[in-house]
Subunit: 218 residues, 2 copies
C-alpha cells in the first residue's frame, strides 16, 4: 500500500499512527501542500483524490480517501490490535470523540479554510490565530468532559489499547501547540497526549519523523 | 430511544433518515437552535451532549452524539437493511463519501460558524452566501466524480439499497437549495437527490415533515 501524505497534515498523521499501530507497511509518498501552489491540486493527484486533499491510501483494490474511512478500512482488514472497542455503544462513544475532532475542529482550521478567510474577509494573522484557537478550545473543551479520570490516568482517551480517539487526539494537539493555543483547561487531554507521544507507534508517525519534514521557519 | 433534533439541522436529518430506513422507532425531542439564544446551550442539554450540538440519541445505555457515530451504532445494532456494503473496500468508499460531506462541507456552513464569521469578520449576508456556496460547490463537485452513471441512473450514490452516502447527500442538498447555490455542475447528484426524496423513508425525515418545522420567513 502507498500513503500520500504531508508531514504537517493532521489527517495524514492520523493514518500514519493507525498504520503503525496495526504494523502495516505502507510506502509514504509526500504531497507538498504549499509548493507550486499545492501539489494536491494537480490533475494526477486529483484522479486519486477528487477532493484534492491528503491523505489518500492506494490499495490493490484502488484509492481510498478520508482519514477516518481509511482507518475503518484498516480496522476491518487488519483487526489486530483493535482500534475500537467490541461493544456497539462503546464503539459509538469512541467514534463520536474522533468525529468531534475530524468534523468539528480540524476542518475549520484547514489550510484551505484559513486561505479563504484571508481572501474573502481580509483576515490578518492575529485574526487567523483567534479563529484557530477558538475552535480548538471550544472543541477540545467538550472532549475533555468525555475522557474519564481513570482512562486519562492510563494515558488513553478510553480504556483499553490506544485506538481511534487517541489517533485523532494527538495530531489535533500538535496543531494546537503549533498555534500556541491555551490548553490549560484540558488537563486530562494534555496528560493523555503526553503519554501517547512517548509510544513508538506515535513517534514514528509524528511530523518531525517524516522524510518530508521541514522545521518551523520562525 | 429518543432523538434530540432540530428540523433544519442536517446532522439530525441524517439520523432521522437512518432511523426510518432501519424502521427503528424513536421519540423526537425538538431542540430549538435559535430560540432564547439556543436551547442546545443550556446546562441540561450540555450534560447529554458536551459539544452542545444536535443530534443526540438517548439509548438505554446512555447518550450518543455525532450523527455518523449514531448511524454506525444503528447499523451495528440493527443490521437490516444494511446502510453499508459488505466488502471493506466498498464500505470505505461509501464512508469516504459520507465523511466528505460531514467533515469538509457541512461543518464550514454550520450556524455557529456563520455566526462567528459575522462577529469576527463583519461578514454581511452576501459574503455569508458566497462562503456557503463556495464550500458546497467545491465539495459536491468532488462528490459528483465519485458517483457512477450506473448508480445515478438507479437513484442512489452507490449501487445497492440507499445507505450512508445517500443519508448524507439529501440533507446537504437541502442546505444547498436553501442558499440557492448553483448546482448545475452536479447532474448526477441532482438526479440521485430527486429520486431519494421520493422515497417514504426520506419523506418522513424531511424538515417539513417535522413537528417543530417552521416555514421560511422570506
Amino acid at each position: 500500500m502507498r500513503l500520500y501524505s504531508y508531514f504537517r497534515s493532521s489527517a495524514a498523521y492520523r493514518v500514519r499512527i493507525a498504520l503503525a499501530l496495526k504494523k502495516v507497511d505502507a510506502e509514504i509518498l509526500p504531497v507538498h501542500l504549499l509548493k507550486g501552489g499545492g501539489e494536491q491540486l494537480g490533475p494526477v493527484y486529483r484522479k486519486l483524490n477528487p477532493q484534492a486533499l491528503v491523505p489518500t491510501l492506494e490499495t490493490e483494490a484502488g484509492a481510498l480517501t478520508q482519514s477516518l474511512a481509511i482507518i475503518e478500512y484498516l480496522e476491518e482488514t487488519h483487526p489486530e490490535p483493535p482500534l475500537l472497542p467490541r461493544e456497539p455503544f462503546q464503539r459509538a462513544r469512541v467514534r463520536a470523540f474522533a468525529l468531534a475532532i475530524a468534523c468539528d475542529i480540524h476542518p475549520l482550521n484547514n489550510l484551505r479554510v484559513l486561505n479563504r478567510l484571508r481572501t474573502d474577509f481580509d483576515a490578518d494573522q492575529k485574526a487567523i490565530e483567534g479563529w484557530y484557537c477558538h475552535w480548538i478550545q471550544q472543541g477540545l473543551g467538550a472532549l475533555e468532559l468525555m475522557v474519564s479520570d481513570r482512562a486519562a490516568a492510563k494515558g488513553v482517551c478510553f480504556e483499553g489499547p490506544p485506538g481511534l480517539a487517541d489517533i485523532c487526539l494527538v495530531p489535533q494537539m500538535a496543531n494546537a501547540r503549533r498555534y500556541a493555543c491555551d490548553l490549560s483547561a484540558m488537563p486530562k487531554l494534555l496528560a493523555v497526549d503526553t503519554a501517547l507521544r512517548r509510544r513508538p507507534e506515535f513517534r514514528v508517525a509524528a511530523p518531525e519523523a517524516q522524510g518530508d519534514y521541514e522545521p518551523p521557519a520562525r
